[in-house]
Structure formats: structure tokens, C-alpha cells
Amino acid sequence: MNAIASPLLETPTAWKLPYRGKVGMACLIAAESAIFTIFVVAYLFYAGKSLTGPTPREVLETPIFYTICLLSSSLTIHFASKLLERGRRGGFLVLWFLTIILGCLFLYGTGQEWHRLIYDLGLTISTNVFGTTYYSLVGLHAFHVTAGLILLTIVLFFGLADRVGPEQSARVGVLSLYWHFVDGVWVVVFTVVYVLGR
């Protein structure tokens, strides 16, 4: 029963533990979710409590097209990592690049909306409570999209240099987990800001 000195003799036949990258990313997502929860709670708490205009009903337009862009990028990144697992690097790169394009389109949409709100309608972060909560929540999400895009672009460059193969698919899977999270958060933000908040 020498449990320590004989590592090989008594090793249980199947000793499989979860992949640390996945567990780490899941924890990061939990932490980020808590941060977003606080911002969402603040948004809902202050909905309709602005003392001056403009109100969400007056100025917000539902960004249907850009939402479709971001949500479909979840599909492209999913299939991209599936293709990488099967060793089809070309297809992976195409879909990966498409994901980045879709993410950039979404960011462009946010930028355009903010430009309209700030320059045409005069709503800034200090105008009223709506402005404060709206720019903080949407901005926090856009910040996460930006961070995700930077990471995706780094992988793209590695891929173009032919350094991303099936052996990296687990790591790429971790990154796509993060991207799915960013998309999932948008579903919540969209519901809160553009559906419930109006």
C-alpha cells in the first residue's frame, strides 16, 4: 500500500481531468458575467429615472442588421474551430477571417449609432442618467468585442504564417468560447437596452 513511492503501479487506469484552458476561461466568463450583471442592474434600475431628456424611446433605433452580424459570427467561429480540429486549415482561415469581418461590422454599427446620438441628438454620457447607463453598458460590451477582435486577429496572423494546426484546436476552442460569451452578452444587452428599456 505504498501510495506515494510507487507512482506507476497504482495509477488508476483512467485519470482524466478537464482541460485547464477551458476551466480558466469558464471562470473568466463567470467573473465577466458578474461585472455585466451589475451594469445591467444599474441600467434597469435607472430606466425611466432621468430628470431630463432625451429618453430611450425618442433616440434609440434597434440595430437589427448589426445584431445579426454579431450573432452569426458565433456560427462562423464555431465551424472554423470544427474545421481546424479536422485539419482543414484553409477553410478555418476563411471562416476565421469572416468572423473578424462580422465583428468589425458590429463595432462599426455601434460607432455609427454613437456618432448619431452624440452629434445629431446631443446625448452624451453626462447628459442624463440614461446617457450614463447606456454608454457604460453598451461601451463595456463594445470594449469586450474589441478585445476579442484583437485576440482573433492575433490568431489570424499566426494562421497566415501557417502556425495554427489541429494541435492548437483546443486553444482556439478556448478563444471561441470567449467569443460566444461576447455574443451571449449582446443578447442580454440588446434585450435590456432596445426591448425592455424602451
Partner: protein, 557 residues
């Protein structure tokens, strides 16, 4: 085993220069070195925070005292609270966790060693940023402007109009930066414990220390993140002209309280659960019995974490919430005493019938049991909302939470120092000095914090810089201050003990306490790679199995 006991120490010989060795420490990603860095860093801030407490106690030693100005007093209680929570207690817990978790689960390092180093330096620079406010708080014009808004920084005190200069911003940024460090460490703890255990160590066979650190890390992720979010909002208010907590434009000061205490109360459990973890390792070894009710201990820990997330507004009874809200938080707060009580009974059950060895580490844990019980009892008293209306924001509250943090958490931490110092350094701490430390500290602690309850009951509010004579508060305040000096002397004894034993302590050997967990199977201090070959375990006490092959635990678990 033989191959393990042979000295495999490849620590660099003394031939290398001091700058080389410092450089090694600065760039290290070794969990043991980072653990020691965390601990040293926290000890530095422990002394600073202690000096701040002493300044406050000297000011309050008698009525109408003029030791410091009201402004300095405000800075002292703000800095004392912030320092002790974020830059003493948490780094100490992270330090011990970092050092011990991989050793206890038979791993060679943490799951993400570089993230580990990054987290430490974030925490470290967070602390330095906080203290830089002493010279940079007013942009160098009014030198000496540290944060003075209290450690929970209620709105609208933090608004630009009431907190001019940059001191509050230093406070915000320090907590943001160190908060990211804490989240990084928590992610690392969870990934390490779930993904790096040695063969045979199922979740049910992990040492309780690892279990409790796993739960603590989960709580850090759920509790520190709201604080991070709230600090972002405060920065937006202060720098971008936002209105989150600006009551004049529809913002809410109450929302800040909720956001702060959603962090603030679980934070207590973030600190106390690792303290439980120390007690759960030390008490069995010095009672010569396995822990009583292992599965119940795990369940109670998880239970505490769950309930701990839903008690935060008991800090806010006095602000006037609805009766339904009050009732909810009264009930959850009372409920959390149940799993905590279960734990106390389990530790008592472990000691019951054991051959107790009154080593210094054990003395501190017994002190913890006794004091933490009283802290819990005053906690249940204050969970009753009407009682809290009477005593909220009084010295009774201050006495209660210092009983938890000093009497509970700090006592366990001292126990952990005496227990694991031999493993980390290779020499034992002096037992005579240790017992002197324990008794002095216990006496000082009780003088200060037992007597602190009384002026609270007599109506003395917290955070006042002076008071009128003739209210019956003077004698109690005098005793409190005397107690603080005794605690200070005890801490000096402790530091002397650390230094003397580091240089001249008796060699500890691998296993000075006849322990049962894997860290005692390697040399003291362990080699950089921890284990020559990754061990395999069959029970919760692998070293017991090894030492008693005729009667291993694995037969009964």
C-alpha cells in the same frame, strides 16, 4: 519515498550577487516564491495598517484628545480598513493558497504560472498606488492627502464636489487594479484544483484546505467582480461626468451601497473560509485524529458560500428598506449561522478524544474557535434588524467585525505561520517565543475588543475623532488602547521570532508535525519542481497510508 527524502535542493548557492537573486525573485513564476512574495508583501502592509490603527487608538485614549486632527483621523480609518482587507488579509490568504495548493494536490505548479505572477504584481502595485496617494492625492500640491471617504466610500462623499483632488481616485484605481489581480488568482486556483490533481485524488479525497480554497476562489470571482464594476462606475462619475451615484440628477446613493455590500459581505467569507481551511488542517494533526465529518465540512463550506451571497443588505438596515427586504436579509443572515455552527462542532468533534498537542499553531486555532464563536454570536444579535437599528454604526459593530477578522481570521493566520513556516523555510519557529506571542496577543486582543463592545452599547458611534467626557466611555477607550499596545508588542515578538528562526531555528526536516498531506512528503523547503515523480494517492491522508501500511485510510473511505 527514499528518493524523495534525499536532498534535491538545487537552490542557487550563495555565490550569486544580491542583484541577481533579487532579479530571480522579480521574474519568478514559481508558485512557492510567489506565495512567499505575497506573504512578505502582506506582512509589510500589516505593520503599516497596524500603525494606522494605533494612531486612531491613541487619539481616542481620552476625551477631547488632540493627538491628530479630524482630517488625519478620517484618512487613518479609511486607509486602515482598505489596507487590512485588500493588502493584508487577501494577499496572506492568496500567499498561503499559492504556496500550498500545488503541494497538497501533488502538482508541480499552478495551472497558469505566468498569470500567477501577473496577479501578484497587480496586487502589489495596487497597494503601492493606494499609498502613493499620500504624496500624490492632491496632485502634489497638498502633500499628505490620502483617501478619507471610509473603506466603503458611500456616495455622495465620493462625488467630485465633496472629495476634491485625486485621493478618491487613487483609492478607486488601487482597488480596481488589485481586484483584477484577485480575479486572476481566483481563476488560477480553480483551474489548478480542478485540472492539476495527482492521480487518485478525486474531489472527495482532496485535503479540506484545497476544498475550502476552491470555494473561496469561486466566491472571489462572484464577489470581487461587482466591486470592480462599481469602481468603474465611480470612475465614470468622477472623470466623465456620469450620474450613477449623483442624487441631484436622478442617480442613487443607495445603489452604491448595494453594489458595495454585494462585494463587501461575501468578502468576509472570502477571508474566513481560508481561515477555516487552516484550522481544518492544523486541528486534526495536533489532535492526532482525522477531521470529523469531512463531507459535512465540504457541504457546510459550499452552503456558507451560497448563503453568503444573499446576506449583503444586513449592512444597510439603518438606511430604511422595506419590511420585506429587511425580513429577507434578517432570515438569510441568521441562516448562515447554521453551517458555520456545524463547522465549529466538527472541529470540536475532531479534538474530542484526541491526543491534543498544545503547539503554538494549535493554541492559535483553539483561540480562533473560542473567539470566532463569540464573533458569530454578536453577528446573530445584529442580524435582528431592530437590534441593528439601535447599534448600527456604533462601536459594537466595530467590536463584532474585529472579533471576526482579528479573533477569527488573524488567529488562524498566525497558526498557519507556525504550522507551515518549517515547510517554507526549512527551520522551525521558536516555540517559547511563539507561546509568548500567543498569550500576549490573546490578552491584548481581549482587552481591546471585549471592552469595545461596551461603549458601543453605551452609544459611542464609530468613526468619531473625539468625544465628550462623562459618558462612561473613557475607561473603556483607555483599556482598548492599552490592549492595542499589547497586541503591538506581541506582533513585534512574532516578527523577532520570524527573523531569529529564519537564521538560527532548528532544522525542521520534511515532516516536523507528523502530518498527513502531500506537502510533508517533500523536502523543506521543497525543490522548485515540488515532486520528483508525481505521487498517487488512495485516501485523504496519503502520508498516513504511507506511514501505516498495515492500516491505511483507503480501506475505510
Amino acid at each position: 519515498m527514499a528518493s524523495e527524502t534525499i536532498a534535491l535542493n538545487i537552490v542557487a548557492p550563495g555565490s550569486r550577487g544580491i542583484s541577481d537573486r533579487l532579479h530571480d525573485w522579480a521574474i519568478t513564476v514559481d508558485h512557492k516564491r510567489l506565495g512567499i512574495l505575497y506573504i512578505l508583501y502582506a506582512l509589510l502592509f500589516l505593520v503599516i495598517g497596524g500603525v494606522e490603527a494605533t494612531i486612531m487608538r491613541v487619539q481616542l485614549i481620552t476625551a477631547h484628545n488632540h493627538f491628530v486632527s479630524p482630517e488625519v483621523f478620517n484618512r487613518m480609518f479609511t486607509m486602515h480598513g482598505t489596507t487590512m482587507i485588500f493588502f493584508v488579509a487577501m494577499p496572506l490568504m492568496f500567499g498561503f493558497g499559492n504556496y500550498l495548493i500545488p503541494l497538497m494536490i501533488g502538482a508541480r505548479d499552478m495551472a497558469f504560472p505566468r498569470l500567477n505572477a501577473f496577479s501578484f504584481w497587480l496586487t502589489a502595485f495596487g497597494g503601492f498606488l493606494l499609498y502613493f496617494s499620500f504624496i500624490g492625492g492632491s496632485g502634489l500640491y497638498g502633500a499628505g492627502n490620502a483617501p478619507d471617504v471610509g473603506w466603503f466610500a458611500y456616495a455622495p462623499l465620493t462625488a467630485r464636489a465633496f472629495s476634491v483632488g485625486h485621493s478618491t481616485d487613487f483609492w478607486t484605481l488601487a482597488l480596481l487594479v488589485s481586484g483584477f489581480g484577485s480575479i486572476g488568482t481566483a481563476i488560477n486556483f480553480i483551474a489548478t484544483i480542478l485540472c492539476m490533481r495527482c492521480p487518485g485524488m478525486t474531489l472527495g479525497k482532496m485535503p479540506l484546505f484545497t476544498w475550502m480554497n476552491l470555494v473561496m476562489a469561486a466566491l472571489v470571482i462572484l464577489a470581487i467582480s461587482p466591486l470592480t464594476a462599481a469602481q468603474m462606475m465611480l470612475s465614470i462619475d468622477r472623470y466623465l461626468g456620469g450620474h450613477f451615484f449623483d442624487t441631484q440628477t436622478g442617480g442613487s446613493a443607495t445603489l452604491w451601497m448595494h453594489f458595495f455590500w454585494i462585494f463587501g459581505h461575501p468578502e468576509v467569507y472570502v477571508l474566513v473560509i481560508p481561515a477555516f481551511a487552516f484550522a481544518s488542517e492544523i486541528i486534526p494533526v495536533f489532535s492526532r485524529k482525522p477531521i470529523f465529518g469531512y463531507p459535512v465540512m465540504v457541504a457546510a463550506t459550499i452552503c456558507i458560500a451560497f448563503i453568503g451571497m444573499s446576506v449583503w443588505a444586513h449592512h444597510m438596515f439603518t438606511i430604511g428598506m422595506t419590511s420585506y427586504t429587511n425580513s429577507f436579509f434578517v432570515l438569510t443572515t441568521m441562516a448562515i449561522a447554521v453551517p458555520t455552527g456545524i463547522k465549529i462542532f466538527n472541529w470540536l468533534g475532531t479534538m474530542w478524544g484526541g491526543k491534543i498537542q498544545f503547539k503554538t499553531a494549535m493554541l492559535f486555532c483553539i483561540g480562533f474557535l473560542f473567539q470566532f464563536l463569540i464573533a458569530g454570536l454578536t453577528g446573530v444579535m445584529m442580524s435582528v434588524a431592530p437590534f441593528d437599528w439601535q447599534l448600527g454604526n456604533s462601536y459594537f459593530v466595530v467590536a463584532h467585525f474585529h472579533y471576526v477578522i482579528v479573533g477569527g481570521i488573524l488567529f488562524c493566520l498566525f497558526g498557519a505561520f507556525y504550522y507551515w513556516f518549517p515547510k517554507m523555510i526549512g527551520t522551525k519557529l521558536n516555540e517559547t517565543l511563539g507561546k509568548l506571542h500567543f498569550w500576549l496577543f490573546a490578552i491584548g486582543f481581549h482587552l481591546t475588543f471585549d471592552s469595545m463592545h461596551v461603549p458601543g452599547l453605551l452609544g459611542m458611534p464609530r468613526r468619531i475623532y473625539t468625544y465628550e467626557p462623562g459618558r462612561g466611555w473613557e475607561i473603556w477607550n483607555l483599556i482598548e488602547t492599552i490592549g492595542v499596545f499589547i497586541q503591538g508588542i506581541a506582533t513585534l515578538v512574532f516578527i523577532v521570532n520570524l527573523v531569529l528562526s529564519y537564521f538560527n531555528g532548528p532544522r525542521a526536516g520534511n515532516d516536523p508535525w507528523d502530518g498527513w498531506t502531500l506537502e510533508w512528503s517533500v523536502s523543506s523547503p521543497p525543490p522548485p519542481y515540488n515532486f520528483t515523480s508525481i505521487p498517487t494517492v488512495a485516501s485523504r491522508r496519503p502520508l498516513w497510508d504511507l506511514k501505516h501500511p498495515e492500516d491505511p485510510d483507503s480501506l475505510y473511505e
